[in-house]
Amino acid sequence: MNGWRLIHRSLTHHWRIHVAVALGVAAATAVLTGALLVGDSVRGSLHRLTMDRLGTIDEVLVTDRFFARQTIDRLAESSDVRSSYDAIVPVILFPLGTVEGADGARATESLVVGCEPEFWDLDAVGVRPQRMPGPDEIVINQTLADEWGAAVGDLVTLRLPKPNQVPADSPLANKDDRTRSLVGLKIVDIVPAEGLGQFSLRPSQKLPHNVYVALETLQDALDEDGRVNAALVSLQDEMDVRGPRALAASETLASSLRPTFEDFGLAIERITRRFDAGSGASSTIYDYYSVSSDRMILSPATAAVAEEAFRAYHGQPLFTYLANSITKVGTSGETAYSMVTAIDLGESFNLLSMSGEPIGPLADDEIVLNSWTANDRDAQPGDTIRLTYFAPETTHGSAREESAEFTVKAITPLTEPDRPYNRRREAIYTERPMLANDPDLTPAVEGVTDQDSIANWDPPFPFDYDRVLGKDDDYWKNYRTTPKAFVSSAAGRRLWTSRFGEVTSFRIPHREGLTAESLKQTFLETVAARQETLGFDFIPVKRRQLAASSGTTPFDALFLSLSFFIIAAALLLVALLFRLGIEQRATEIGLLLAAGYQRRRTARLLVAEGSIVATAGACLGVIAGVGYAWLMLAGLRTWWVGAITTPFLQFYLTGRSLLIGYILGVVISALTIWWSVRQTRHITVRRLLAGQASDANAYVYRTGRWLFWAAGILVVLSVVLLVVATGQAGMAQAGAFVGGGAALLTGLLLLIWARLRSGGRSTQARLTGRGALARLALRNAARNPSRSATTIGLMATASFLIVAMSSFRVAPSETGAGGFDLIGKSAQPIYQDLNTNAARLDLLADGAEALEGGDVFGLRLRPGDDASCNNLYQPSQPQVLGITDALIDHFDDRQVPRFSWTGTAAKTMAERTNPWRLLQDEFADGVVPVVIDMNTAMYSLKPPLTVGSEYRATYDGRDVRFRVVGLLENSVLQGSLLVGEAAFERLFPDISGYRYFLIRSAAGKQDAVTAVLEERLGDQGFDAVPAARVLEQLLAVQNTYLSTFQSLGALGLLLGTFGLAAIQLRSVIERRGELALLRATGFTRGALANMVLIENVFLLMAGLATGVVAALVAVLPHRLTGTAAIPPSLLRDLTIMLTVVVTVGIVSGLASVRAALRTPVLTALRGD
């Protein structure tokens, strides 16, 4: 007989209790494993979603302009690319399309895919329209169809932004006609929201609204024949998108892409003017190449490349801008609407004075007028000229005039043509034209430079026809866009540089051998040499989304913490059951010790025995864990769907999680068993031999006066905390309430413990009369005060936390929405300020009335990843909102409702009064001040951010550093980075207008405002949603997690009732002698059963009641102040939950009753 043999015999002999212990271990292991599997499932589902919706698409080329599809065809034919990639499919992508049904239903932010049938070859799950869309036809996905109830055959309208336009925030840009509508598209098929039917470039589990149109249809509609704006790239099947080969292939792909000069939106034209004086000798007035952009202004990056490329050819940047008026200071009258060119005079552009001398370089405050203008203004060198012009950037679309004064350095001659310009030909000169006779120094402006008469101008800026006189129209006819004045480049930059750039064209003098083609080539070589992409970037969309699919929230850790009570209850059960087993075997253990076994060896035998049981139980637990995870996922797909927004989760498991769950289950159970064995180390051998496995000191009663004092202090503390809580807000308030409740709970538990310890000394008459049996049962509960107090404490703590969590529920509040009642978003930017009557009348016509008494604040929006708690993907490029000065000023008014802050970096009084002011700061290190919702900062962004933290993200290929200057509390702005408008414009110069709107409607007008904005701004895809609803959806995540915690806590509590039953069983076994004595003195079995049951119910109810009372104290003020979102159903839910717990507790307590009834009277009386 050795130790193992002994263990084996013990295992088989005491199999009943071991089965019970194993079940406890299984429960703990199941919860641990299940939580890990939930994590696996979330990650696996996100991974599957990514793989599913991207199909075989690994990288995407998305540009902000259209380019020739041949560029993609050439790329696809490249041998370097073909060796790694299977397909490169040119498409047109618009992520912000608006689709309208015939009944007015509208889906904004729909992804519009203009494609050919080969697009569907990239699908990996077999989704493909049964019928490809032809002209005037469209295919939509099931998500969109479900939202509308749309069917095949229905007609829809598609609205898209017009591409390749002058930036709308430029005063010279057209702000009205920026949308192209495709009306009457017939739905020919509805594809399921699977595979490419849910194609999306954004990592989000939300199902996108997608529409698919034939590529040619979109090209026709947008006047972009043969051009596309995106390409989808598919790696060869055998390549792992995250492997090193794929990374190398990506670099090859990027370097193999060779956009043409035209693809960059550039044009080059040789501008030549010759003059034939009639003698047959032709002289060249000017001969140069003009490089210009289809967006009027070259972007700073493009201009930098061009400057380097054309420097060797004496290429000169120039900026021609519109002067609204040229006046001579000190005189009346003006020259209206003139072009002024900023260019450095010198060898390459050598303007001559009236005397024929080169004028030479201009100082920053000097100007050269052409002779026409000098005559018109009666100006001479030395005179002061004032230029009035529009500021180069508009805010809310309103052009603002500025002016600057210059000294006339010289007058340059301008030759009047013999015959003016007309539509078919240029002006004809009989006298030699001059260098200044060059209308091509001015870029093309649609509606202006293409008109025959100023009277026909349709300018995008405020234009006063009355200021245009006959002389001005004559000038237009004779000289068209020929500049009337010249200033230095430096002066031009000072006055007209904007975030859109500072160059309208490059002027490269022609010389022998120089051709447009060679200049283009030089430009492209410079692009390559500088490793510039100029917007032609491949996004490793699959790699990025797979990385993001690791998720914002570690769901395994989350569910481990949410399941805390179940794990604790299961381990408690393991400890109690094992201890019960020890108690049943007390004599056996005593005998081993008496026979000479050392305590340590005996303990080792018991722990080894328990560990074997744990090992077996954990096996069962792993299997049960799969079921637990399945249940949790079912919960997340149904009751708790608010936590994940969309019921997309599928069950996934990994061997790693099963193994970790198993090992954790075994280890913590073995430790628990070790701990419970350790508790027996002080029990004497004599007591063990007598069958008693509890410490004799357990029955010594003490008064414990200090406990009453401590309890009193805690109760006072709880009152203080609860009073303090009423002066707090939000989480601080909830924390103070719960802290107060916790202090009260601890105080009550101490009182109970003290009462139990004192044993109720003055009870001489208590066991008499009616109810004596019940009182005897209650006295029995005090038999072991520590054990009973622990039991009550466990039940109380669990019920307290479950109920008190209610106070952390958050309701949509006025501060959450900053006092705004509607949140608006438009698919296309709105450029005007809807807070002005003019804009309201212009945009909303008679509907403007609905907005009376309300506010509309537009915010700039840079689309990005949804960084709210609604998105399970890890955001890498969060959406950015530009907070305007107008909105910041709005919050200076102390009377207006405002957002609530959990922390700011405010230092000055002004900043403390209005923390939004912090966004107007500029840090010396170039870091951008940012305000973030606390939930986004804490849970969505990694690492978690606090005030003062820095966050880095890459936007459009540039690394941006943000520094948190404020954290909003539970706000409607969750999910975005909020920066000042100036910083926004610096970061995203290409983004014009406003797409996000905070709206406060006058009382009772919310519906009217919504209707007007959505109807009148339908072309822009305006969508207004009640702020409370948005906030509710955002807060649903937090509230759902609380519900999950409460539900799982209740499950743990339920399991805890089994622990309570085990404690009672143990107590009954300990009291076998006493119970037998009671039987001997005439107690019937029924009386004994009642007594044990009453004792059981007392402990259960005392625990629940103490916890619930303390929690209600914590929750009630929260509810009374109206800051908690305690749903009406909460009381019902809690009642049901607690009733179930009590019922299960009583039923499981019947085990101890049964044991009491089965107590063998004689054996117990003899102490055998």
Partner: protein, 225 residues
């Protein structure tokens, strides 16, 4: 007329082989005021006989009649009431409830009977006074000595004025002084309460205090001098 009649009582236990006979043809008669000590070596069946007389065990054959009533003809519930009303027990281990006071422990049988009235309290106080613990009414068992605990057990056994007081090795756990005191107390109270007293003991000293002594040997009960 005897108040306790034990007639041809036998008790066998089933074992793997042949039945183990513990008691053979035991007969005994006692009238109120009488007391008897039953002696015998360990395993002779003394306690088994006592438990059968006390209705805690059942005989294999024979009968027991107390105050003219055969308790083994009663239902379980009736038997519990019968035991409560007519029989008092004192065990070697006092089996006091540690959570209750001396007074409450004494009152326990009245709780079972549902007559834990003020009269019962008065009687309990009287009994406690008579066992010499008047000053310890509200003390817990943990605060009493072994002899004191056994005195409480004696008072508890008499609270319902039983006709029969059964004591199973009542002095087995006590020192000699306490043992003598308990023996004398039992005898005094038996006389005062006019009950039958049956004491099972190893102690000749205790047995000698009783008016009758009987020995149980090999399952047979015999009167001894």
């Amino acid at each position: 007329m005897a108040d306790l009649v034990v007639s041809k009582l036998a008790k066998e236990f089933v074992t793997r082989d042949e039945p183990l006979v513990v008691l053979r043809d035991i007969s005994l008669q006692l009238a109120v005021g009488e007391n008897v000590a039953i002696l015998g070596p360990s395993g002779s069946g003394k306690s088994t006989l006592l438990h059968i007389i006390g209705t805690l065990d059942t005989p294999s054959s024979g009968s027991v009649t107390l105050l003219g009533q055969d308790p083994f003809q009663l239902t379980e519930r009736q038997l519990a009431v019968f035991r409560n009303q007519h029989i008092g027990f004192v065990f070697q281990d006092h089996h006091l409830l540690p959570q209750l006071t001396v007074l409450e422990n004494v009152l326990i049988p009245t709780i079972a009977a549902g007559n834990a009235t003020s009269e019962a309290v008065a009687r309990a106080e009287d009994l406690i006074d008579r066992v010499g613990l008047a000053e310890r009414l509200d003390h817990r068992p943990a605060e009493l000595s072994g002899g004191e605990r056994q005195r409480v057990a004696v008072a508890r056994a008499l609270i319902q004025r039983p006709a029969l007081l059964l004591a199973d090795e009542p002095t087995g756990s006590l020192d000699r002084t306490n043992a003598q005191a308990i023996g004398k107390l039992l005898l005094d109270l038996q006389q005062q309460e006019k009950t039958l007293l049956v004491v099972v003991t190893h102690s000749l000293e205790l047995a000698n205090l009783m008016s009758r002594r009987m020995e149980l040997d090999d399952g047979v009960l015999q009167e001894v001098d």
